[in-house]
Point group: C2
Chain length 417, copies 2
């Protein structure tokens, strides 16, 4: 059997994702397409526009067979951590081929790059430490160290300064580290000639970030209708009319309140608070009138925007070093949270369930672990803040069933409807 | 010199307080009246209707000469802690007579009660422990133990089940414990025949709680105008038009968010979280739609409403056991935060300043202690939550100068105006 895996955020699911999925089906003819998707908070340290349940529905309606959740501790982690958690879940689920988009578009340069870095680990590490001691951010220091060891290599290498190339590199590294038989495949990213800020009115594809920007700035759905599948359009419309889109600006009063309630000691207990950034955060929060204000005032060249946003998520969700660090560094996912499936996905699950080393959870009422506790907490905070001022949610996070979709009838089944 | 001291919350300053002040001036002819007043959070575990700065202005306009702040750790403490902090501050300030209202109205029964309990400390403690093991709240257990030792005493005693009698008793106890020469005096509380819920339309006096209830339920100021001094009326009107009154219901979304972000381990680090109440708090918060809902669902006979509200304040302000407990149990106030004064108050301060054992702080930019940190934090949270959605505050808590009032010109001076 060919089981294809995708690692995604679908924030929101758009035509570029659909294009990727169609290419995957055409080239690989998989028996099943499995997605591991981030929950309500994302790798760049942002709340998702709409909840993981809404995004699951979008993906099922566009042809994904099975969707599971990437636990919070990996989902809101740096590229390395993110990739390790996602690859582990896909591997556990029996995925044979990992399919990802990249600016590069060829798999060989990734393999060359991985072997190059592994062959020069000592020099690479020294150069990395040197660059960071000069005050560079991790991604910039990494790029500098990489340029240093790559400069005399005759092979075709991948440009790791490109964000999707960098993620892809970490996928390959994670596959190798766990001795997985999973085969990595890549395709060129649809909008690779443009940058993420580009948004062409008549083009059928735009980046997720430019779509989000349009939506958060209040543009009508009409303006992006040609860039998203019909199902996404309907789901966004519903979400917008019910609670509105989630955004850091909406959540900001709660982040500010949280920071005002903390001193530097307490703040330094938060995951990824390091190097004295706690003093800077507390000095900047008092006069910040918006999230954008705040991050702008905290920003230095040592910190990427994404890293500061991830810090803000950890503060908002009270994610502690003592709890998250051991999980992110050492631990494999200890269960698989099922977000949604169609009949094919369900049949596949029935097939593999007994062979699995970790439980697959449909509901999480009766299963708890440190890792799941963080997922539940993050979802509860997200749900509460999004719904604030509206009528209450009809369900609780812990009681939420997976979304079940009938691809033939094009309808949702049971209580997930 | 006769320096009279009053311990107050002035939430808000009303005709009953004015009556108390006038009686004090008529009977004692003090050279100065000093008030130690709680900050933005009060002994019953509630945010004050209007900020400490506004309440300071009310009090100065009604004839108080000097007002200092009772630090948060005492102000939001049980009667014992509250009294200990307040008496220590008045003592430091050279107060010769402590004047308080009580349901009893005579000082001798207080002295009899204090000597009775001190003479039967062992039996009293045993009875107290016994009653609490039966699941009674502390005040009820205390009343039961007291009834037990009081039953054969021929002297006139005070009914400690009455809230103002109980506070008065703790004032006398604190005076005795610190071997202070301060003389306690009491007068009968104005509305002693009525209970706190009573609010008579035409009466010139009503309790602060009934006045607050009217205001928070949206009654026009007109309805309470005959029960408060003109200065209070003006100050309330301004506050209401600027930010509205503070209340637990307005702050509730932040309390709920805070609880949703905590697990039981983290919650048990909060000051006064004991006996497993953390499980109950987390079990009840998810479905609570209002603060009143929440406390109602948590309430058992072991906990008084005030105790649960104080817990809620400690959660909202992230007041930790590790920080607050040592301060509340063992430590004296380590500085005196000046809130306001008229010329008499200022002259008196100049006189005593050099003899003081602890610094008197006009601004707190350059002086920090654990105790002050909590005061600043509580004020910052209060100010932020009250002003949320409005234009920002013109000043920061740490830079706020004391209010200076010219009693002859009936006007405020300098930058506090």
């Amino acid at each position: 059997m060919i089981i294809a895996g995708i690692i995604a955020e679908y924030n929101p699911f758009h035509n570029g994702h659909l294009y990727q999925l169609n290419r995957l089906r055409e080239t690989l003819h998989p028996d099943l397409v499995v997605v591991v998707m981030s929950g309500d908070f994302l790798q760049r340290g942002e709340p998702a526009l709409v909840s993981k349940w809404t995004r699951t529905k979008m993906a099922l309606q566009s042809g994904i067979d099975l969707i599971v959740e990437l636990p919070f501790v990996y989902a809101v982690g740096k590229a390395d951590t993110f990739a390790r958690g996602a690859v582990a879940l896909l591997d556990q689920l029996g995925v044979t081929h990992l399919f990802f988009s990249s600016e590069c578009g060829q798999i060989e340069p990734f393999q060359n790059t991985l072997s190059l870095i592994q062959g020069h680990q000592d020099i690479y590490s020294m150069q990395l430490a040197h660059a960071m001691s000069q005050g560079l951010s991790y991604p910039n220091a990494h790029a500098a160290a990489y340029r240093f060891i790559a400069k005399n290599d005759p092979r075709e290498l991948v440009d790791l300064a490109q964000p999707n190339n960098s993620l892809g590199f970490h996928y390959l590294k994670a596959i190798e580290q766990r001795n997985s038989a999973m085969i990595p495949l890549t395709m060129k990213r649809y909008e690779t000639e443009h940058n993420d800020r580009t948004f062409e009115k008549d083009a059928s594809v735009a980046s997720a970030s430019s779509i989000r920007r349009h939506l958060l700035e209040g543009a009508a759905l009409q303006a992006i209708k040609n860039k998203i599948p019909h199902a996404t359009c309907t789901a966004l419309k519903n979400a917008q009319e019910t609670y509105g889109y989630a955004s850091w600006e909406r959540f900001f009063p709660f982040l500010k309140y949280k920071l005002l309630s903390m001193n530097t000691d307490r703040l330094s207990e938060i995951y990824e608070i390091e190097e004295g950034i706690e003093f800077r955060l507390l000095a900047c929060i008092r006069s910040a009138h918006s999230f954008h204000d705040f991050i702008t005032s905290v920003k230095t060249k040592r910190y990427t925007w994404a890293r500061l946003q991830r810090l803000a998520v950890h503060i908002l969700t009270d994610t502690l070093k003592s709890e998250a660090k051991p999980l992110a560094l050492n631990q494999e996912p200890d269960s698989i949270r099922l977000l949604g499936m169609n009949r094919d996905g369900q049949a596949y699950l029935a097939l593999i369930r007994k062979k699995m080393e970790i439980p697959i959870l449909s509901k999480i009422r009766n299963h708890r672990s440190k890792m799941l506790e963080q997922d539940i907490k993050a979802a509860q905070i997200y749900d509460y803040l999004v719904a604030l001022g509206h009528t209450s949610h009809p369900f609780t996070e812990t009681g939420h069933p997976p979304v079940r979709y009938d691809a033939h009838q094009k309808s949702f089944l049971g209580d997930s409807d």
